[in-house]
Amino acid sequence: MDDEYVSSLPAERASPRLPLGLSWPRLRASARVREAALYGGAAVSYVAIGVFVTEFALSWVVGFSWLMLWVWGLPALVRRLRR
């Protein structure tokens, strides 16, 4: 949805070493694609749950929180884990 920034983290910071010699997968999707994927994931999961749990689809508080969790909370969590 916007293209103001692209992932330009140094390789070491973008893919720190994990215990046992493993490393995080290096996904270098553009910011636009990554953001669209997050919104898409939020939408698909929200609809899938809402169809079976209708209270989920009725509350704007849940709707906003769900979107916030996916699009802002999830990337923030991943960034923190990668540090």
Partner: protein, 243 residues
Amino acid sequence: MSWVAHDLEPYVFQRKLGLGIAISFVALVLGSWGPDMATKWLVYGTNVVGFHLKASDPVRFHRGWPGAGFTHSLTFGVVVAGVVYLVSRSKPWAIGLLIGIWFHALSDTGDTVGSMLFFPWTHHFSLGAWAYTPQSGRITDAAAYYSGLGFVWDSIWVVAALACLPILRRSYFRERIAPRDGFWAWSGGLLPEDALLVLYRGAIFFGVCRFTTWMLWAHVLHHYPFDPTWGGPHWAHAVHLHE
């Protein structure tokens, strides 16, 4: 009664009117939701600390007088906007609330009960295009709305809102939304810009997803019959003005 139209109207108005006059987008959303936020939970009934609260006459409470039907009037929009302007001296907020409430009241004239647009004149303006059924409960109401012309009405708003995608860009938010409204400066002290952007896009996400959810629920999961005829669906008990 409209469902997701009230979530999506603010984006369409922001796109159409936002270039000409300064409008608070937050006020537009609150105005668009306001009349139902004040009434709907008592129309359907709700549980509060073990007590079930529900209006004894949901239709009159929601749209009539005596009741809270005045919230669905153009007059109410003028009063709310006037009070907010007197208190805050904020034209963007006053105009946003005015437009939001007005279009909520106007779009609710589409059902079989309609709204008292010029309260205290208690005449109901109603097109009668789709059945008013909240008295039947939340689930039946959803099934009926998305089986009659209500789903067509909401579809129009979904298409119109999706045509507004350019105003969801970060650059638009920075240039046109955030500078016009102190709410964003205040909330910017609590949350980063990424989170504010999610809030700004939240109502369109909620509206489009809710539309998809209810359509799937009503017609894929439960097979309620479509009846997009005037005043339908006729399998549901619609309240009319004379009842």
